[in-house]
């Protein structure tokens, strides 16, 4: 079975090598990191029955034998589905949801407890004014707070489960109807998000990027949030309006944010690219991380094991997990 690992994720040495180390069935791998190298991309796609990649572009060469496109990531927003051949099964991976849920709890706690400000002031200036016996303003907590999760999938559910143990009230909004509410007490249709937002002390964006979610958190909806509310985005940056969110944070229309996903990403010529055209890094009420909420050792192992399990499953013909669709 010919398998092509392509692109900056699937062909990354530690990704391809780890997956190949976990696969037990016999496969013939091709590894191509640079998908701009068409001399090598043409044969890699012409032969492959399986492609492991998080990206599929409109102008990709023909892939007549392709049966399985296995993404090593969860999001399919880099995959141009209409340009895939007919009859291709597209699978993604999970195993990141627990890591991302940890990030959501960590950041909602850190924002509420003002951890960075207090720890930095104590470290740099020896300031004891963190609200304790040394005086200064008290900080917040999440007990009794209402957490609203936009996009109630695997990540949303894992976040809900953990937040509930902290005594939070969890509500959620989802595109499609939800049969099992899990730890959420109420589920809104995404069309009624405007009713949910004013209730929330903390809003977690855990949705995928699609036509219904692109630009969802615009200036008007940010304005529906409480002025003290916190926004956590681990979904995709484009779900939030870049300028409106910046203005809301700068002007104190909302209380703060933790952002892990961005409007701009680095490239080889600009490896330290700022993640936005706007100076988010100068806002004191923003915690920012470089798209790494899922980059834990455990999540990596669970995801790559999931890819390997599907390659083996496809070769043996005994079924695939995490099937998203078949073209």
């Amino acid at each position: 079975m010919k398998v092509s690992f392509i692109g900056s994720f699937g062909a990354r040495p530690e990704v391809a090598k780890t997956i190949l180390g976990k696969v037990t069935e016999k496969i013939e791998p091709t590894v191509l990191f640079d998908i701009g190298d068409s001399q090598r991309l043409i044969p890699a796609l012409a032969e492959a029955e399986i492609v492991v990649s998080h990206v599929w572009k409109k102008d990709f060469p023909a892939a007549p034998r392709l049966k399985l496109l296995q993404s090593p990531a969860a999001g399919l927003d880099m995959i141009d589905l209409p340009s895939l051949p007919h009859g291709v099964t597209v699978c993604n991976v999970d195993g990141h949801e627990q890591a991302i849920a940890e990030y959501c709890l960590m950041t909602m706690l850190a924002l509420s407890h003002k951890l960075i400000d207090i720890a930095t002031g104590f470290r740099d200036r020896g300031s004891w004014s963190g609200g304790g016996a040394g005086g200064g303003p008290l900080h917040g907590e999440i007990l009794g707070k209402t957490v609203g999760i936009v996009g109630y999938g695997k990540i949303g559910r894992e976040t809900a489960k953990r937040a509930a143990a902290f005594g939070c009230t969890v509500i959620a909004a989802n595109r499609s109807p939800v049969a099992d509410k899990g730890d959420a007490s109420e589920i809104y249709p995404l069309g009624e998000l405007d009713r949910m937002l004013p209730r929330c002390d903390i809003v977690v964006i855990a949705a995928g990027l699609g036509p219904e979610t692109r630009g969802l958190m615009d200036a008007r909806r940010l304005g529906l949030m409480k002025p003290t509310a916190l926004l956590i985005n681990i979904g995709r940056a484009a779900i939030a309006d870049e300028e409106a969110l910046y203005a809301a944070l700068r002007d104190g229309k909302i209380g703060g944010a933790a952002l892990d996903v961005w409007w701009r990403y680095p490239n080889p010529s600009e490896p330290n690219a700022r993640p936005s055209a706007l100076p988010y890094h100068e806002l004191p009420n923003v915690l920012m991380t470089p798209h790494c909420s899922s980059a834990t050792d455990g999540a990596r192992d669970r995801r790559l094991s999931g890819v390997a399990r599907n390659l083996d499953g496809f070769v043996r013909g005994d079924g695939l997990r995490n099937v998203v669709l078949t073209t």
Partner: protein, 325 residues
């Protein structure tokens, strides 16, 4: 009936509860810095002391019948200076806030949060992301958390850590019934068995003869290389020199320290919490003894204190009784 509110925390408490107190209760407030010239008269006829301290060199207080601590720890009350029959009560309401801090610190340490967020903000470093093949960071799931001191705080920590998929162990001085979240509660004397199993150790015990210096160089050496230590209890539970050496030399993976071996004084308000520069170590999260100081905690604690003063004035049984002299 008269109550003396002594010190800054007591003064804040008074401001927060004065409208709830019985009208018959006369209140006097002596804020920090305490004017020692005013103290003898204030102490002489007070029935109730609301404070976090009463030192041996304080003037006589022959009528004290209730000492209501504004905190949970009562070690700063010199019991020999209190009259016979005086009740000492403490206050809680902090346990959920501190449990939030413990889980937050555990997550931040495993996820290398300060380092990653700091480098991204300062230098736009994407090194930690999937995009640049960075070294993965850790997660809490599947790790073992050991809680020393399975009291109110320890239980709240366990309850919050459980849904993360942690294995939870605990050690306690007195035998404790374990909750479903906890795999085993060791007697404190068997702490040495628990320590080598833990990826994170959270110290949530009170300070007492059995816990002073409990976590010394030998016991730190029993911890897994790279394990994390969180202390929200009292500085003196840990050997200061040994912990600094273990963190500096990288034998421990990191620590979150909220409680210290020394505290600021009026002359030195920005005094460091230790004679060692813990604040210069990159793998240590340092906070100024405020893990429990949330707005919610203060409200809960004030409510408990107001309730107890009301009970005392009505002659009802007291809550949170620690000792009777």
């Amino acid at each position: 009936m008269k109550a003396l509110f002594l010190g800054n925390v007591a003064a804040d408490t008074y401001a927060g509860i004065k409208d709830e107190l019985p009208p018959s209760l006369e209140c006097e407030v002596l804020d920090d810095p305490i004017d020692r010239a005013l103290l003898p008269a204030a102490a002489r006829d007070a029935d109730i002391l609301v404070s976090n301290r009463w030192f041996a060199d304080f003037p006589p207080a022959p009528k004290f019948r209730l000492v209501q601590s504004v905190a949970t720890g009562v070690e700063l009350f010199d019991q020999a200076s209190l009259p016979k029959g005086c009740a000492i009560c403490n206050a809680f309401g902090h346990e959920t806030a501190i449990a939030e801090f413990v889980v937050m610190a555990m997550l931040a340490l495993h996820h290398r949060f300060f380092q990653i967020a700091g480098e991204f903000r300062e230098d736009a470093s994407w090194a930690a992301s999937w995009v640049q093949s960075g070294k993965p960071h850790g997660e809490v799931r599947g790790s073992t958390l050991g809680i020393i001191g399975y009291g109110r705080v320890g239980r709240e920590v366990a309850r919050r850590a459980a849904p993360f998929g942690c294995r939870i162990l605990a050690a306690n001085r007195s035998p404790r019934e374990k909750d479903a979240d906890v795999e085993r509660v060791y007697p404190l004397s068997a702490l040495d068995e628990m320590l080598p199993l833990c990826d994170t150790v959270a110290i949530c015990t009170a300070l007492g003869p059995e816990t002073t210096g409990l976590v010394d160089a030998r016991r730190l050496g029993l911890m897994k290389p790279g394990a994390f230590l969180i202390n929200i209890a009292r500085g003196q539970v840990i050997d200061e020199d040994a912990l600094f050496a273990a963190l500096r030399d990288g034998r421990l993976g990191g620590a979150a320290i909220d409680v210290w071996w020394q505290y600021p004084t009026p002359a030195e308000p920005n005094r460091r919490g230790s004679r060692h520069p813990f604040h210069e170590l990159p793998n240590v999260i340092v906070t100024p003894h405020n893990s429990g100081w949330t707005a919610g905690m203060v409200r809960r604690r004030w409510d408990e204190i107001a309730d107890n003063l009301d009970r005392f004035c009505r002659g009802d049984s007291l809550i949170n009784l620690v000792a009777t002299i």
